[in-house]
Amino acid sequence: MRPQGRAPTESLYFTYPHFDAPEGAARERLAADTRVAIVGAGPVGMVAALTLAREGVASVLLDNKATFNDGSRAICVSRSSFAILESLGAVAPFLDKALGWTMGRSFFRGTQILEFEMSDPASEKYRPMYNLQQQYIEQYLWDAVAREPLIETRWQSEVTGITDHPDAVELTVTDPQATYAFRADWVLACDGARSPIRRMKGLRLKGENYEGRYVIADIRSGHDYPTIRRALFDPACRPGGTVLVHKQPDDIWRIDYQLADDEDEAEALQEANVRASVAAVLADLGETGPWDLEWWSVYSANTLLLDEYRHGRTFFVGDSAHIVPIFGVRGLNNGLADGQNIGWKLGHVLTGRAGEDLLDSYSPERRGATLDVFANASKSARFMTPPTRGWTLMRDAALSLALDHPFAGGLANPRQMTPFTYAESPAVLPDDPAFTGGAGVGSALPDARVDGGFLSDRLGAGYTLICFDERLAEGVRSLPDAPDVVCLAPDSEAATVLAAGPQAAYLVRPDRHVAARWTTASAEAVRDALARVTFQSLPDNAAAGTVEA
């Protein structure tokens, strides 16, 4: 919502573009078959399309709007999302604009009781978190999509029907000029929390609705404070409630404040009430300067997801598959990881580099990640918006104790986003138990400094083997369909971070998760592992390896 007199998308600092529906010659191919159709050009749909393009796979990207999503929405972008953006060749404008941060401060009844630092070792290329308004996120992704010849975007094009056929999916689309249908081999439903595709397929999200609604309000203000997440518990401006304050680029401040149980939502969302609530928060922060109201909305804490993200030839990706609470900022980051996950898997299958069974690993991997988000977020939600008197009392006890006893402050840890470990996935191998430390199978590869750059800069677009022995590297490079190979010194920082001896090796997936690792690797073991995790049978002459079905 925006102040009276301003249209939706009439922002104080951002010019929303206007996109036309397909016109002229572009209309001639509207009904043509396509390999992949992506419904929804939100951040997740765009990441999926860009990931597929990087795999060399063309897609049609449809969105019913004529511009980006309105409002700053998801503003916290995690280190793991920056790695995704980098892999898509899109990270530069994000780095220019976003505000990196590492620190949070918690206040209880006006007194600072806790300061936490997120892990930010020098071996990591990116900061643990960046603040950036969602419309910039969409703008920068769109700039990359618009440059990409393999993506055909159709704005103002609403998918109004979906029909399954044995080897294709038929989509019906309505745009300002016509209604037409076309067939896609695969459909990615990136159509957001209200997903019309989900509804048309008769599917429902399942889970819980939590207590606690937040008004999220953006203001423009010269407020002077570093990029540090502030959480105000039981502040004077909102007794019994919780307030979160985040800095965004362009002098925009995000103020999230909890509504009390007896507060009427419609009333709270009226402009005058939002202004009064924001003014009270600013007074608590000691800010007396002028400010403008930019945009506001309301958000409640839900943990909802689909039982299965794959339905035949349709995959649910991002908010269409799950709705997560805002605490810990996982809504968007989790969705971007979904988009990348299905993107590289489908890309590998469609370019003959993996068997179709790889696609069945999407749902368990990404559902697992969402359930992990839920487990963390429900703990955070209980702390941020305690549902009962007991939870409130213990929360307050922890906050009050934290002033003198640091251990109690640990209970206030906001449990920010960390990438999920796919240890149980069919698309990774069992771990080598001989390792002590390093990055376990299924986990996201940590970064390390290499010759003035980073390990992540060396990784290929497909699977990469990281090893520390030149003979092994040569052996793997000479395999048919060899993965990229990065051979580093046995005393490199990477070897330390990965707890790797000279004979050790890590096989890393296109999404930088560990597919397999060995304390003592061989070229044959690498070849067999690659065949297994890509669901391909070994060539006939590769008799030495044993491959279980």
Binding site: L393, M394, D396, A397, A398, S400, L401, H405, A408
Partner: protein, 62 residues
């Protein structure tokens, strides 16, 4: 702890509750967390918490 030592703690709690006034519940919650941390044995702490939950309704009858 000897009976006399238990009594010292008993007195400190009673005085603390009175001193906390309207915040006595918060005070007791803090005490419980602190003492539990001192015990250093989460299972024991949870068992004691359960034990404290018994017979709460008996007071009126007594």
């Amino acid at each position: 702890m000897t009976a006399a030592e238990v009594e010292t703690v008993y007195e400190a709690l009673a005085l603390g509750i009175d001193a906390a006034g309207g915040e006595s519940e918060l005070f007791l919650a803090k005490v419980a967390l602190l003492l539990a941390r001192e015990i250093g044995d989460p299972e024991r702490a949870v068992a004691l918490i359960e034990s404290a939950g018994r017979h709460l309704g008996d007071r009126a009858a007594a």
